[in-house]
């Protein structure tokens, strides 16, 4: 049975596209047939994060308008056999697609894929409505900041009204040094406020910027963010994975380097 997951946040710039790219890649690496759909019409980005921007021929709007078949618009990933990307259109606007058309296309893709991941645009207007229309599960991405959490709460309210069967929270860009100083909300604080199950904590990691520069998702790698995304993928599949205590990892390394400094 296939699952349709929308990655959403309300606020822009909190990491929806990075999360989509990494969760999609991670699931494909674990042998699942995955299609990533960029639903941000007019501002396409997922292709760049995936490093597939040079391979686009047709896009989502072409499929909806019947200019090509679904299969023609799907781009095969460089790294994984079972991963495909449906790019968005860069020159059209959000009104080019309706929620009904989106549902129809998702239904069609369900026949071929285990996981359909929809990268949602920021905001709660039509682009958001299109992205959530065909989905039955959501990953809500937020950062530990007041504005992002407020928007996430609004999004969760809207998803609950649509009777989503599962809504999980990803806390992105957590800075353990700031948490330690009492200058950033903890993951527990955010969960307490939003009251939905936590599926992952991604620490603030410069490797995310480096990976995006290179167009290579970092899931599965040895970086902190890469490991966090790997854990999220396993939890998406229903595995019970304990949360990595990065604080401990960091303090361990400071202790180790501390020893060398003394000598």
């Amino acid at each position: 049975m296939s699952e349709v997951i929308v990655v959403t946040s309300g606020k822009g710039g909190v990491g929806k596209t990075t999360t989509s790219a990494n969760v999609g890649t991670g699931l494909a690496a674990m042998g699942k047939k995955v299609v990533l759909i960029d639903t941000d019409i007019g501002l396409r980005n997922l292709d760049v994060v995936m490093g597939l921007e040079n391979r686009i021929v047709y896009n989502l709007v072409d499929v909806i308008e019947g200019k090509c078949r679904v299969k023609q618009a799907l781009i095969k990933d460089k790294r994984h056999q079972s991963l495909y990307l449906m790019p968005s259109a860069q020159t059209k606007d959000k009104s080019a697609v309706s929620p009904q058309q989106m549902v129809k296309m998702v239904q069609q893709l369900k026949e071929q894929f285990d996981y359909i991941i929809l990268d949602c645009p920021a905001g709660i207007e039509q682009g958001f409505q299109n992205a959530i229309a065909g989905a039955d599960r959501a990953l809500v991405v937020t950062t530990p900041e007041v504005s992002a959490i407020r928007d996430a709460d609004r999004i969760i309210g809207l998803l609950e009204a649509k009777e989503f069967k599962q809504i999980d929270l990803i806390i992105n860009r957590l800075r353990y040094d700031m948490v330690k100083r009492g200058e950033m909300m903890t993951a527990a604080d955010v969960v307490d406020i939003l009251s939905i199950p936590l599926i992952g904590i991604v620490p603030d990691d410069e490797n995310v910027v480096i990976a995006t520069n290179q167009g290579e998702p970092l899931v599965g790698g040895s970086t902190m963010a890469g490991r966090a995304y790997q854990n999220i993928c396993q939890r998406v599949l229903g595995e019970d994975i304990p949360f990595i205590d990065f604080e401990k990892t960091i303090s361990f390394w400071t202790r180790v380097t501390g020893i060398f400094h003394k000598n």
């Binding site: 959490i149 709460d153 609004r154 009492g182």
Partner: protein, 87 residues
Amino acid sequence: MDLGRIFRKKSSREIAKDRLKILLISDRVNCSPEMMEMIKMDIAKVISKYMKIDAQSMEIQITKTGVKGRGKTQSLYASIPILDLNK
């Protein structure tokens, strides 16, 4: 005893959390302030039929009652100071 701890300023983490909690109560209620004021006036009018109340300092609030704050049931709480039970 650590005096600094007693007189310490609230950390920005605590400020953020407190602000969000208050902010989200009003965000989650789909009710405009004007409508809240109208409800308040109507309640005051009805209660005033039976007893003398202090309508100026009465307060009403809509809260979500649920185990984890995200329960589906919402309740209206009214705090109405009574000046005289016998009108």
